[in-house]
């Protein structure tokens, strides 16, 4: 038969199934009547004739069922009928449906949200051409404590010119510009990129062009490429913008292009790109990262081997290539690190995200166990209905299919609910502060994730309901037994108990992990940073270089003609702060505590010139500060003095160290009067005399130990970019606006940026951890709730199925307390078995958390005890309600029931 005809049949059967059924009814009625007529004609009575006719036809309902099965689209039709029937069943038992759908929606909503984030952040390809071939290249020198070491221009040039593993390679570094002139200027985060970077990524400009080779040579005029967002925000999306000029730090820069919408590099905070000057002979500073495109067929490991070889060969041959004043000895462990770009950009979020993913997986499993329990509990009540359908001639497969359809419907409803739940959660996720979770702007509820949620819902329900459904279908005897109310089906109860055990085991895992993480955060919050963080306003200032186009190393002090101007500007800033109402005192530092951009360099302490590997020096955090920095922060001065006005250029160089450095360099001795210098500067006049020792600080990250700090006087090494720290008498947020206004008056072309209170900065530095903990806490709460609901349900079922037994016991004189004890003991056994398994799992699995824990052991006994106590009391509470019901059983009523 032709396809068209077949399709027409299918449509007719589906759309007009009722009519087709009526025709069949009429036809069978006709047959029945004819047979009856014939019987009467043979001399039977009308009643006898009708009976004989019905027997001869062999059950009209069965015939109809067989005909339906023979029809085109019979399977689909049966499915639709099952669906309608299922919907009716679910509508009838509102309570069960509501609880099951809500439970599923909760689990699936959480899982979908986290999966959407994991997919967008960790799994989806970066929005560049053939992103799988892109790698991030950096360097490391573990002997020197340099585990994350950037590249110098000389390093980069060597890899660019000589490495065979790459098709293309580009370098970049974060920077920022004061854009515009006079009162109009504003701060824009930017990235300085080598000319080949855009080509390496394989992305073209949407308007105009990107940079071309040679535009990163020293001394070229300044160019700029805008991001789509910046173009929209600042220039109203004006298409004629290409070719016009923008003032960056007061220097005219031609806008050569605008990048397409959605293009971000290296992160979404960057609003514009400028050419990064690359001079192959410049061996410092080490402030670049490189992105390279691997040749097809070349892996990161091979590239790492080749570039490491290059690095070692060059470092051995040329002084300064590896940063020290002398070539490193043979056998130095300096090497390059080549990682897939996506992994490198998202490394900081990988572990927390995977942790959340695992947690949400546990929640989903608990949800499955809960739904299975619900279905199982209900199957007792439904046994009669199903037994009736059996008796009416339904086959086992037919009933199993019906139950599965019902579960599928339940799952799809749960999945849809979960997606509805996930949408607002993802909306909130996208509004998180930028920069804490990379690629967060790419997170959305995409169709794939939606589909996965629906499938997960259906699958969860089916897996959850499969065991009970199969038992119903397989074993007619079980139904007979279950339909007799007073005799409980023991197998069902065992399964219920097992599921509750699983719930308790999984909940314990989740609660233990959450407890450990919360305790870590608590420990972190009680870490003393070494100074008082309250009532501090901080902000950044960046004084543009006077000379247009000059190469400006943001990490090096200004020299020559520029020093006077820099000093003058910053002394006016401090003057303005002294006059500012509400400000107690203020000072300047090279970088903000917890700002994530502390300067680090190799230093040599007098008497300890030789380092571990023969190369001199050890890694030290560097802060250039003005007098009064320590008193503003209330960072205690332990010995000696603070910097003073006379510590200027020309006077003998001085330094202050913190206790951590003093202890490392001169254990048990007074550091004041000793000398220290940078490793790269071995001139005799480079030694700086230590005039003071201050307390240890943790101003990088709270979860790192106190690291050695070297403080140098701003007045001897002035910097363009400085951070202002002001201790206020009033709330820092109230003082902030006035401070900003005062600074605008000092010089309108230098806009203050990153203005916030120190406490907010500390909070932000723990933001990712807090977010992870918050989500974990929510998941753990859901798990606890579901475990409680699970054991409550099972014990209720148990009590109601044993009403008769309990009634007999009570009638025979059992004390109510004994009955309560019996119920509670049974509940406690279930919970204890589950928790035992959970504890074993916790000892095995919590070690995986070690990397995220702070001063908490993964088997912290206090946490595990607390979790066991919490789960145990929840279990007892949940059992107490059915236990109370048990002793209220009216013996007479219960015994009469059957």
């Amino acid at each position: 038969m032709g396809h068209a005809r077949r399709l027409a049949r299918l449509l007719r059967n589906l759309l007009r199934g009722a009519e087709v059924d009526r025709e069949l009814d009429r036809e069978l009625d006709g047959v029945l009547e004819t047979l009856t007529d014939e019987g009467i004609a043979r001399g039977l009575s009308p009643d006898e004739a009708r009976r004989a006719a019905a027997i001869a036809l062999g059950g009209a309902e069965q015939v109809k069922e067989e005909v339906r099965a023979a029809r085109t689209g019979a399977l689909l039709d049966a499915f639709l009928r099952d669906l309608r029937y299922g919907a009716r069943v679910l509508r009838r038992s509102t309570g069960f449906t509501a609880v099951a759908v809500l439970t599923l929606a909760l689990g699936i909503g959480a899982a979908t949200s986290i999966f959407s984030v994991v997919r967008a952040v960790l799994l989806s390809p970066l929005p560049y051409r053939e992103p799988d071939r892109l790698v991030l290249l950096r360097q490391a020198w573990p002997q020197r404590g340099l585990n994350f070491w950037r590249l110098s221009q000389a390093n980069f040039s060597a890899y660019r010119d000589d490495a065979k593993a790459f098709d293309a390679i580009g370098a970049y570094t974060h920077t920022g510009y004061n854009v515009g002139a006079g009162g109009e200027s504003f701060r824009v985060d930017a990235a300085a990129v080598s000319a080949d970077l855009f080509a390496t990524l394989g992305v073209e400009a949407a308007l105009g062009r990107t940079f071309v080779r040679g535009e990163d040579a020293p001394g070229r005029r300044l160019l700029v490429v805008l991001s789509h967002g910046e173009w929209q925000r600042r220039f109203g999306g004006e298409p004629g913008i290409v070719g016009t000029t923008l003032l960056l730090d007061g220097v005219p820069a031609e806008i050569v292009g605008v990048m397409p919408r959605g293009f971000t590099f290296p992160d979404s905070s960057v609003g514009l790109w400028t050419p990064l000057e690359i001079a192959p002979d410049r061996t410092s500073p080490f402030m670049l990262l490189a992105v390279a495109r691997l040749k097809p067929g070349t892996g990161p490991a091979a590239a790492e081997k080749e570039t490491t070889g290059l690095l070692r060969a060059r470092a051995a041959a040329h002084a300064g290539f590896a940063g020290a004043n002398a070539p490193p000895a043979a056998g130095a462990d300096l090497h390059t690190v080549v990682r897939p770009l996506r992994d490198a950009l998202t490394a900081s979020t990988r572990t927390p995200l995977l942790l959340l993913f695992a947690a949400v997986g546990l929640v989903l499993l608990i949800v499955c166990a809960n739904v299975a329990n619900l279905v199982l509990a209900r199957s007792g009540g439904r046994a009669r209905e199903i037994a009736v359908r059996f008796a009416l001639g339904a086959t086992r497969g037919r009933i199993a299919r019906q139950v599965l359809t019902e579960l599928l419907l339940l799952g799809v409803l749960g999945g849809a609910g979960g997606s509805l739940l996930a949408l607002p959660i993802l909306g909130m996720a996208r509004r998180l502060p930028a920069g804490f979770v990379p690629r967060l702007e790419e997170v959305r509820l995409d169709p794939v994730v939606f589909g996965v949620a629906l499938c997960a819902g259906a699958l969860a329900a089916i897996v959850a309901g499969l065991v009970p459904a199969l038992r119903l279908g397989r074993d007619g005897a079980a139904i007979d037994r279950a339909s007799a109310r007073s005799t409980a089906a023991p197998r069902g109860r065992r399964l219920n108990g097992g599921l509750v055990g699983v719930q308790f085991a999984l909940s314990l895992l989740l609660l233990a992990g959450t407890g450990l993480m919360l305790k870590s955060l608590d420990r972190l919050l009680s870490v003393d940073p070494g100074f008082e963080t309250d009532h501090l306003v901080t902000l950044n200032l960046d004084l543009p270089p006077r000379q247009a186009g000059a190469y400006a190393n943001p990490h090096a002090p200004v020299t020559g003609a520029e020093t006077a101007g820099t000093e003058r500007y910053y002394s006016r800033v401090l003057e303005a702060m002294r006059a500012q109402p509400g400000v107690r005192n203020a000072a300047l530092a090279q970088s903000l505590p917890f700002g994530g951009d502390l300067d680090a360099d190799m230093t040599v302490c007098e008497g300890r010139e030789a380092g571990a590997d023969g190369a001199a020096g050890s890694l030290t955090l560097i802060q250039r500060t003005t007098p009064g920095y320590f008193s503003t922060l209330r960072l205690p001065l332990l010995r000696g003095r603070d910097f003073e006005e006379p510590d200027r250029i020309g006077a003998s160089p001085v330094a202050i160290v913190d206790e951590t450095l003093a202890r490392l360099a001169w254990p048990g001795q007074d550091a004041v009067g000793r000398r220290i210098r940078f490793a790269w500067d071995d001139r005799p006049e480079a030694w700086k005399t230590i005039v003071g020792v201050v307390g240890p600080v943790r101003d990088d990250r709270l979860d790192r130990g106190a690291e050695p700090h070297l403080y140098l006087p701003f007045l001897q090494e002035p910097m363009r970019r400085m951070s202002l720290v002001a201790r206020t008498e009033i709330e820092p947020d109230l003082a902030a606006a006035g401070i900003q206004q005062a600074l605008r008056t000092v010089d309108p072309s230098v806009p203050p940026f990153a203005l916030r209170s120190m406490e907010a900065t500390v909070r932000l530095s723990l933001f990712q951890r807090r977010l992870t903990n918050g989500l974990l806490g929510a998941f753990a709460a859901v798990a606890l709730l579901l475990a409680a609901a699970g054991i409550y349900g099972v014990m209720s079922l148990e009590v109601s199925s044993r009403f008769k037994e309990i009634a007999v016991r009570l009638a025979l004189g059992a004390r109510p307390a004994a009955v309560v004890g019996m119920v509670l003991r049974r509940g406690a056994r279930l919970a204890a078995a589950g928790m035992g398994a959970g504890l074993a799992g916790a000892f095995a699995l919590m070690r995986l958390l070690s990397g995220m824990l702070y001063e908490v052991r993964p088997d912290d006994p206090a946490i595990l005890l607390a979790v066991v106590a919490l789960l145990g009391s929840v279990a007892l509470l949940a059992c107490a309600i059915p236990a109370r019901r048990a002793v209220r059983v009216d013996p007479i009523a219960a015994l009469r029931e059957d």
Binding site: R9, L28, D37, G58, Q62, V63, A69
Partner: protein, 121 residues
Amino acid sequence: MTKTSPRSDRGSRSELVRGSLEILILKALATGPLHGLGIARRVEQLTGGAFEVKAGSLFPALHRLEEGGWLDAEWGESETRRKARFYRLTAEGQKRLRRETGAWRRVALALAQALSAPARG
């Protein structure tokens, strides 16, 4: 010979049965339109009572044949003046009857030959 029963297993045997029932229905209708009960009786008559056609297999088969386009059906009146659906062969149905009759003959011949061959020691 095989009896068709409505609750037969869904195995290879029922396929054979289904196939033979369908061709018998087509044969029964070759001499003119009949209603369902008439078809059942005609088949019994044609097979000398060896085939007892039950409603549980007859009506699904009629349905399949109708949907396949080998039969047409319309409402009419039976001999006892009851409403009944009368089935008749379509051109397609006649073609199929001829084709399958030939095929059955060949199979029957081959089987008879094979089964009557002397057994070898």
